[in-house]
Every structure is written in C-alpha cells, then in structure tokens.
Symmetry: C2
Subunit: 549 residues, 2 copies
C-alpha cells in the first residue's frame, strides 16, 4: 500500500473499490445492460425492430436529451446508463438494417459480424505495430493481398514475395473511403514530386519548392463531376486546392466524357498546371455508374500520370462473374479504393486502398524511434492513420465465411433487384426514372405520366418552373417518408441528360440489403404516392397543373 | 420471383438460402462462435487469460497461417471460422489488457464497454450525417462539448449557443490522434492562408498560390523533438514538408527549450518561412512530459500564430484536481488533441480535436449535394474522415458512468504508481531511471550501480562503447521479455540529459492500467534481471566489464 492510499478518506476508498469493480466484475446477465446484450445476441433484427422508434422525433427535440455540457462529477450506475441508452439513443437511432430503408449505403449485417466484433473489441489490438497486434498484422496483410488479388490478379509468386514483405505494403487499411482516396492521391503527389538530384522530394521540401522544381504553376486532379466529395477534401488537405480539382462533364450515361476530359487537359496545359492523377469512378455515390476505366487507363498512360479508381462502392462487383466486366480496366489502375463497410457487409469503419505496385506506398513511408522501426513489419509505417483497431478481422471473416461465390450472389441479387425496381418505376404512372441502374443504385422522381408528356410542349421558362416545383415535391416527400419511419430513400440533386438546363432533385435508391424484397419496393412507391396526396404536397402539384394550363 | 431466380440451378438456390441464413439466423448459443461470445460476456479477463497463448510464436511462423492470397471460392461454416479465430488469431494476439503489460498505451477496459460496443455495432450508425445517425449526432456533439468544457471551461451560455449549432462544431471526432493532429494543422494552415481580397484562400487556390500571396518561401511547425511522429506525416500530407517541421531541442526535463524555440524562430524569419503553428505536448508519447504550455501560449501570441496542444495522452490529467495544474495553459490553445482510446479507457479507434473558437472548423468546411447540405447539422461537413462509426457513444458512456471523479481516481492512481515504480528503479542496484515520470510514463534502462559509478571515470570513447552495449542489453531484454509473454515493457531511443552525446535505448513503461499492482512492477524488474543472466545477454555485460577494466 502506498502512503497516498493510507491517507485516503473512507469515501475515496469506496470510490476506488467501485472503480475496480467496473474493470473486474462483468455485467450480470440479468442487469439492464446484460439483458440488452443478451437480446442483441439472440436476435438483433428483432431487437432493432422493437427498440428503434419508427416515428421520427424532431432533431431539436432529440437534442434536449443531450444538452448538458459539463461532464458529470459523480459516477453513475451502469444500469441507469443502460436505460438511458435504450430510451434515448437506441430508440432514436436510424434503422440502417431495415429492408425498407433503401436510401443508405449501409445494410443488414451478417449475424456472425456481431460476436466477431466483440472478440475484436475484447482483444483491443492496435494495428499500428506488431507489438500491439501480433497475429492481427499478418491477418491484415492477408486481407490486403486478397483484395489486391481480386483487383489485379497477380501470380502466386508475386503474392508470396510481397504479402508479408517488411519493406512494403500492398495497400493501406483505414477507417473508410475518404482516407483511402486521400492516401492514393498523397502517394500520387509524392511520386510526381519525388526526390530528383538536388531536390529532396515533396515529403521533405514541401509543395511550394516542388512546383518550383517541376517548373509548373499547380497540380490538378481530373475526375468526373459525379466524384465523391472526399476528393474536394483531399485536394484541400494536400495543398492542391479545390480550384485544381477539375470536375469533368459527364455523358448521357453519367460517365466521364472523354472528349471533355481531353479538353480540360489541354486547358491545364495552357495554364502550366500538371495533372497529378486521373480518377475513374467505379460506382458513383449518387447514381452507381462506372466510368470507362479502360479509356481512362489509356489516357492516363498517354499523359503519364497516376490512374486512381474510386471503387469504394462498386469494387465488390468484381466478385461477380456475370458483372465484373463492368469494371474492365480497373486492373490497370495504379490505386483502387474499396470500402468494406459498404458491399463487403462489414460494420462501419473499414476502408482500403490497394496499390498495383507493392512499393508505391514507400512514397509516404515514415518511421519513429519507438515503433515503425526500419525493417519492422509494422503496418503503421504505410498508413495515414496511426493507432487503428483490428477491423480487418471482420473483412477476413466475410471473405472466409461468405466466400467469393457468396459475395457474387449478393452482388448479382442487388443488381437484379435494382433493375426490377427500375422496371417498377418505368411502369408506374407517377414516377420518372432519372438514372437507370448500371450497378445497384438508381435515381428517380415523382413526375406523373401526363406531366412527362406535357414537358416537351412547355417553354424553357415554364419547364424550369415545373422542375423547381417537382424539386420541392421530391424534397417534401423524401422528408415525410423518412419521418414516418417505415421506408426510406435518400435524395440528391444532379444534372440529368433528360433536363440538361439545370440540376434537379431526385430520390436515390441503393439496393444492397439482401433482405429487401420486390414487395417492399412496391411499398416504397405506394408510400410516396400516398404522401403526394397530403395537402401541402398536393398544393405544389396544383401549382404545376396551373403552369401547364 | 424474378426470371433470373427461375433459371437458377438447385445449387445456386441452396447457396441463396444459405446466404439469407447468415443475415437472418442468429448464431446458436451452443455454436462455437456463440460459446466464445458467451465466454467473453461472462468474463472477458478470464477469456483472454485462457485463450491468448503467453509464449510468443515467431512472426514468420504466425504468417504461415495467413499466406493464401486468393479469396476462398466457396463459403465456409461459421463454426469452422470461429475455430480458426480462436486458435490462430486470438491465441496469437497481444494481451493488451494484462496488468503486467505496462509498455502499451492500451489498458484493460471497463466491462460495460463490451456490451455497449455491441449495441453500437448492431445499430451501425454512420456519423457523417444525421440521416444515418439521428440521436448519435447530438450525442457526439454533446461529447465534444463536454471535452471542450473540460479544457476551456466556457460559460453555460457559450455551450447553449454552440453545442448544437448547425453552422459550427466545437471539435471533430475521429479515429485517433493522428487524424486529430492533422485536422488541427489543416485548420491552422487554412486560417493563415484565408481568403483575402482577390486571393480566394488556400482551400481553393492551393498552397503554391498561397505562399505567393503571403510572399513567403514556406510554412513551418514548431514543436519539441519529443513530438509524436504524426506531425511528420501531417506536414508531409499538408504540403508543408518535413524540412519545415522544426524539432526544437528539449531541456533537462524533456520539455521544449524556450530559448532554442526563439532561436529556431529567428532562423525561420531569416529564411522567409512563416510559422504556421506552435505545438505544445501534454504528455509526450515516449516520456509523458508536458511542455510549458503557458510559455508556449505567450510565445504563439507574440508571434501571432496558431497554438496547438497535443494532449492525446495527457489530456485526461485535466480530470484530476491534484494534477491538472501540470497542464496549466492548455486552455489558451487554439486546438487540443485528446485520444479517448488511451486514458478515457475506450476501445481502439476514438480520437478528438477540440477548437477554442467554435467557428475555427469552418476553415475546412465542405458540402455535397446528397449530404452535408448547407445548414444541416451533419457532422461530416467538419471532419477529415467521411463515414464514421458511433464510437462517441463509448466516450459518452465513460464520461457518464465513470464521471469526472472516477477518471480523477484513475489518473491519480496512474501517476502515483509511476512514481512508485520510479522509486523501485532508483532503489534497485541494477537499474537506472532515465526520465522520471511527470505523468504516468517513465523510462529506464539496465545499468548496474557499479557501472553507473564507473561511467564518470570512463573517457568519451569508452563511455560510448559501454552505452552501445547497454543499448543491446536493453533491446535483447525487452525482446526476450516480450517473447516470454508474462510481462511487457516497450522500448525507445532517446537523448537523455544524463548522456548528452547520443541517443540511448531505454525501457518505456506506461502506468495506466488500474489493475497493475506494485507487486507486478517488482516482478517486471525481477524478470528483467533474470533475463540479463541468460548467456547471450551476460556476454554483453562481460564485454562491458572488460571495457571498464
């Protein structure tokens, strides 16, 4: 016993004992938290269904439960807190796993993910270094090799050489697509501005001296205007600047327009701006379309710059023998982003970027005295993040348990269902398909057949007014549908080939939950039609009728 | 039923059914995975103790279990995979929660963290936007406010105004300290290079044009040489360059030397380089020391630049009435990093950066069409990461259940125990304390009393040889102790005031696990003494004796 303990008051000693208890005494199975835990173990779908309140409370109202800004002085009982979690947090969560919620990129999770997550949390490994992760490091390296193989399909010899090589990494595991895309562009930037003679390279010398060395006035990224917003963040972060994120026009199929791309490239040349990377999207966030990756690869080779593919969403399409051709050319990318928390059905917080060249990541390699020593196999020497949890374990589990063929089924199912939903929309008298699904995402809007017919006869001004009102209808319907909590689609604004004069608001539907049935999709449309009949929305439709005369 | 299903073969249909099963049928309690899950629920400490194999297998050997680079074609049984996890992954993990493992920054977790983690995973919320997180968004905002209050202690009115304000965020929740530090420097950079007249600001125009606008030849970060390696990554990423990360000398107490700081600043001025941020460290990763934050705040104010404090480790010292004075001046920082997966006892993957000015994060604000719309309360508009899990829930739980006073006890306990360990080392005939604990981290090395006495009598050359050999002793002892798997300290290399001629290797001990007892610390030293007696290590000591004559 230390002297300090001896002078502790009785209360302090009691507190200390209570403190030890929370580290040493498990929650009893019949405690509030134990019971919740048990209920989730036994049937998570049932638990979520029972405890998440469908009808939405307003956010202002929910905020009232989270207003205290001072950390409570006194400890509280776990059981009291568990009650709070049940009533205030769980009840007011979003039922992301619900089969009728077809607007998110999250889905129901395979059951085994939950107990495996608990094992991961209990082990609490830190993937930054072998010393705090041991088997988790080779496991994560294997996951990276498997995903690399899915994309690049190199020989067994290649993987034998590189999978556990201490000087390199086939990719970087991270918390999500944003970090993955940023890592890819970081690597591309550092390669372009690599050490060269007297010049020590951008990692050391910085961007300013790099551009002076290259003799150019800026660096640029070329990507379609369907690019994920993470590219905007990445160019800001990397010092490239949002002005140099060139958002190239798209063609009628929502894919990057190669002619427009060439035109933008010429403009950059005239401004003495060096293209740093050409980015192809394999499954845009908003519409799920895939850029012509082979053409982009040709173009990137021609102008001699890094070719990155953002396959955060669409990457797992590679599992499908039937559909992988849609991503043809991805194997020519220098780097590819894939999110595991999307179509690998892993819980939130798992992304990856894979590099064709096993040495590419050396452009951002870093070391420290107490970890990441030279020659160590610590994964942290090649990642943007530092301390990281063992999420790769859940990807490893998915790949092992579901297998290539299982994921193939999931992919095929999603694409098939999206096509079926597109048919439903096309056949429905009240809806207009805006972007057909190439993968498993589509967009549409409320626009009755009579109005669709009429649109061609309206003048520009009238058409614009009608579109503005339809935007309001879409926004209002989406909001009310969400609030009612039975089914859910998301919404976005995009430029459609059908209405090239300006962006329109659309419903966005993502068909990745294997529990979503065709019947549920019919219900989604029925609900939307019912909401349109509500007075406020009907008033908007009346305004439209008046414009159309 | 779709046509496609109708042409499916029987095998395919069977596969489909199996696939549905993994999404709909819970693991049975008596299944392998169910049993593991149950065992962890009942007694995680016991589970880890039983299933993690103490004796270390070599990494090469472990890698043999993770060599396949092809994703398995066929699905496999959950039970088979659960066996694999038990035998190959869990068994070969690091027992980060073991009370005798005092070298990591991870500790035992409070029991309630596990069932709450499961709730978080089951809900699978995505914090990027309200639409996929609902109550989790105000909850995370509350956590940020509470941590903000802990540091800055603003008025209730201040928090009422800002806590749920849609235009701002009091900080950014993220996966860990690296992202937190990077976010802070990103904000600082964008503030320094803010829009100004014709100049559109760095976010748009990029770093090259910013420096042209500012009329300087570079930006720099000033921080002590004890800085976490994440700052090196951050300056690389942000385009500032590692050459411009000025690692300032430290004084005999491991704190930044203010005179050296001024000298470095003058050098920067001569080179026309603009200081972007002065960084203070509140608990260095290697030795746990705290920079003189008030002096740094004065200096930053004097030269008019951003003042960031990296309190990833030491931040929670603020909970302690007895010790918070050690961090005096932190409330003057423009931004502060705190890791929750360190001394808030939350599982891996939870960091935060707080900003004094609620509008500071607007420097990196971003929006998109389908989420993060202007005026929304989506947290994703102010974070480096995109999709993120609801880890803030576990911080919320810790703050609520443990309370300020509970954390205070944990902090006081760790500091007290570190001091006791320092006493043990000082009194021990075979060890030399290298850095005394200011917080709860210390470093020491094997260096018998007779040799310590002798050191002063040796010439420079001899002293250097002895230190090199002692380095090897430390490295070998640390490695063997780790491999034996009973207790663990980490190691690093640092410049000690005692031996100013070059870096030496030292054991590093982190006293944050409340289950670590004084007895265990004695065992750590006993084990090290026993390892020194092993032939290979003893040979090194014999060499040293020969040098000393």
């Amino acid at each position: 016993m230390l002297i300090w303990y001896q002078i502790m008051t009785d209360t302090a000693l009691a507190n200390l004992e209570n403190l030890y208890r929370i580290f040493t005494v498990p929650e009893a199975p019949d405690s509030t938290l134990g019971a919740v835990d048990q209920a989730i173990s036994e049937n998570v779908a049932d638990f979520l269904q029972k405890h998440i309140v469908a009808l939405e409370r307003s956010l202002d109202d929910i905020e009232n439960d989270f207003t205290a800004s001072k950390i409570p002085e006194e400890p509280s009982f776990v059981s009291d807190y568990a009650e709070f979690v049940k009533q205030k947090l769980v009840a007011q969560s979003v039922h992301t796993a619900a089969p009728g919620f077809v607007g998110h990129m999250t889905s129901a999770l395979p059951y085994f993910m939950l107990p495996l997550s608990r094992i991961m949390t209990a082990l609490n490994q830190n993937l930054v270094k072998v010393e705090t992760s041991k088997a988790f490091t080779p496991m994560e390296r294997q996951v990276l090799a498997m995903m690399h193989h899915l994309i690049y399909g190199q020989t067994e010899g290649f993987y034998n050489q590189w999978i556990h090589d201490s000087q390199s990494a086939l990719g970087a595991f991270c918390s999500g697509g944003t970090i993955a895309n940023t890592t890819a562009l970081w690597v591309a930037r550092n390669h372009l501005c690599a050490p060269d003679g007297e010049f020590s390279g951008i990692a050391k010398a910085g961007l300013f001296k790099s551009l002076q060395h290259l003799g150019c006035d800026g660096l640029a990224i070329l990507v379609s205007r369907r690019a994920h917003y993470s590219f905007g963040k990445a160019v800001d972060l990397l010092g490239i600047g949002r002005d140099n994120l060139v958002l190239v026009d798209i063609d009628y199929d929502s894919r990057i327009d190669m002619q427009a791309l060439r035109a933008e490239y010429l403009k950059l040349q005239q401004q003495n701006i060096r293209p740093l990377a050409v980015v192809g999207i394999a499954g845009t966030t908003e519409t799920g379309h895939v850029d012509p990756l082979n053409e982009l690869a040709d173009f990137a080779a021609e102008i001699g710059c890094h070719f990155h593919v953002d396959a955060a969403w669409g990457g797992p399409t590679l599992f499908s023998d039937r559909h992988r051709h849609l991503l043809a050319g991805i194997e020519r990318a220098d780097s590819v982003t894939i999110d595991a928390h999307k179509q690998l059905y892993v819980p939130m917080g798992a992304g990856m970027v894979l590099f064709k060249d096993p040495l590419a990541l050396s452009a951002i390699e870093h070391h420290a005295n107490y970890i990441l020593r030279h020659g160590s196999k610590d994964l942290g020497s090649h990642t943007l993040e530092g301390s990281r949890p063992g999420m790769a374990m859940l990807v490893h589990a998915g790949l092992s348990i579901i297998g290539r063929k299982g994921y193939e089924l999931l992919i095929d199912l999603g694409i098939e269902r999206a096509r079926h939903f597109a048919d439903l929309i096309n056949q429905h008298p009240n809806f207009e398909l805006i972007t057909a699904p190439e993968l498993n995402i589509l967009t549409y809007r409320y626009n009755p057949a009579w109005l669709q017919d009429k649109m061609g006869q309206l003048d520009k001004d009238q058409q614009q007014k009608v579109n503005c009102l339809l935007d309001l209808v879409v926004q209002e319907v989406q909001k009310r549908q969400r609030e009612a909590g039975k089914t859910f689609v998301s919404r976005t604004r995009l430029l459609s080939a059908l209405y090239p004069d300006g962006q329109i608001s659309v419903f966005r539907s993502v068909l990745a939950n294997p529990l979503t049935t065709d019947e549920i999709l019919s219900v989604v449309l029925q609900e939307q039609c019912a909401i349109v009949k509500e007075t406020e929305v009907q008033n908007l439709m009346t305004e439209i009728e008046q414009i159309c005369g």
